[in-house]
Symmetry: C2
Subunit: 314 residues, 2 copies
């Protein structure tokens, strides 16, 4: 394990790929790798990109990577895929996109699925970001598919979150209704060549003015055509301005503290859940399940009994 | 509290509404109400309805309620709304739809948001279903917005889960890719008057044949036009056949056991999370947070320390 981390720190991409697989799988090995590389982490700026399927997130990420490379920064992309809650398998597998960047040594792309962690993908992503930071990536893009609660919790791991929408999809209304607007530091109406793009942007701007989520920061609403790269320089500039705002206002520190608290909460929950899963095999816990099914014990009382069983004795 | 439950069992709708608010808020009162009514629960057939926004779920639920009333069964609808992870507020609020049923004493409609429960809406829904069962509803429809992980965990609380799609949205491909197909006991292609409806249905059927998720049950794929009620009788018949399958195969018992295990897991996690949240205020836990921020302690080690702090002493 120490060889692996030494190789990673020396710039060996194979070591990086292996470390990422290890943190994705979770468990003891993941803890060990993270323990060793944690001191070298925390330096990158994290950009979260989220939005409904079909708005062109992948193309936008592609174009943003091009923009970031113009600034001569090393960039990594983590694309998270929705995962079946039943089989736990990954879906997209190897990505065939972003072929324009495959020969660029300073671009790294990785798809991640929810494998080892019961607590969802976000725990693995926290650790994956650390691996990429230790390796030396300066910008890390976390792309999530969809705007469900899982995706939102992933989006919250970023420093700057970009919410991508498209004109005429009704997405903006859905977003406003669902409170998703609150997570956006920056809004992009992609497919800006479609009719209604600027109208959609105005509607979003208007609802943001009403909301005022962040003191000192009004999220800009930009229009882009990711296919052609139009509007991408403005997006990249806005990310820079947002980073400056985070640093000057002290929000970066505050957000990162909230992130650590959230991560600890998830980690503790995961440890508890693992203990619980193991204990469900025991015959007296099975007996408890049957008592609930027979309506002899209600679930809340059963849960209290379980906690006593699990932690009461140590 | 005992008056409340007595009134609810006597058929007082106001008592039911109050009990639902109590379980939605969570906490000690919720546990107490559930403890009293739990013995009267477990008798209804639960139908979960899920699908992307815009496929016409609400209209379909409306039409299905009409169908269920034709069979002279008492039916309740729980509509769960996506909730902002930041403000915790509900969105849709009072529902203005389903006006056709407002005068029908045997139909009950309730929107639920994720309020008291840290563990998400599903815990409140388990308990809400119990209240509705104790009151005497024979069919309970649980409608969720979206197909994220939260919605899936809610869908899993049902006995029969209906996945609603629409033609030409690309939804079916998204669903196949994301593994969401696996949760459907029944598939409905709504807006069947749009072009491509039957093609979409065939594609879904084909992918289901390849998958074979449930031994002894091939999920039917039906086409409906919820607006006009076309296809609704077939859907309701299919629900009946699925219930028969669940009973005859012993799957109903098996699923309900798995549901109790999942609920206990969530309840235990919630109790732990509540303890943890409270302890984060303590100065030595704050110190731990700062050590992680200063990269002196890695998060995994910090989580282990936290567990010891929280449970080690009792």
């Amino acid at each position: 394990m120490e060889t692996l981390t030494a190789q990673l720190l020396a710039g060996n991409k194979r070591a990086l790929a292996r470390a990422l697989t290890i943190v994705e799988d979770g468990g003891k090995d993941a803890c060990s790798v993270v323990r060793q590389l944690f001191p070298y982490s925390g330096k990158a700026h994290l950009i979260g990109i989220t939005g409904s399927p079909g708005v062109g997130k992948s193309t936008l990420v592609d174009a943003l990577v091009t923009e970031i490379r113009k600034a001569d920064l090393k960039v990594a992309v983590i694309a998270t895929d929705p995962t079946s809650p039943f089989t736990g398998g990954a879906i997209l597998g190897d990505r065939i996109r972003m072929q324009a960047h495959t020969l660029d040594q300073n671009v790294f792309i990785r798809s991640m699925a929810n494998r080892g962690h019961a607590g969802g993908t976000s725990l693995a992503i926290y650790d994956a970001v650390r691996m990429l930071e230790a390796f030396g990536y300066e910008i890390i893009i976390i792309e999530t598919v969809g705007v469900g609660q899982t995706e939102l919790s992933i989006a919250k791991t970023a420093d700057t979150t970009i919410l991508v929408l498209m004109p005429g999809s009704g997405d903006e209304i859905q977003a406003i209704k669902s409170g998703i607007m609150e997570i956006g530091d920056l809004f992009v109406v992609n497919k800006g060549d479609l009719p209604g793009a600027h109208k959609t942007a105005s509607e979003i701007s208007y609802s943001l003015e009403l909301a005022q989520h962040f003191p000192g920061w009004t999220p800009p609403v930009l229009v882009s055509i990711a296919e052609t790269g139009a509007g991408l320089d403005e997006i990249w500039q806005a990310v820079g301005k947002h980073r400056q705002y985070l640093l000057e206002s002290g929000m970066l520190e505050e957000r990162r503290k909230a992130k650590v608290a959230a991560e600890l909460e998830e980690l503790v929950s995961e440890i508890v859940r693992t203990n619980l899963k193991a204990s469900l095999e025991h015959s007296h816990i099975q007996e408890l399940l049957h008592q609930v099914l027979a309506r002899e014990v209600d679930p809340h009382s059963a849960a209290e009994n379980l906690i006593k069983e699990l932690f009461g004795s140590n």
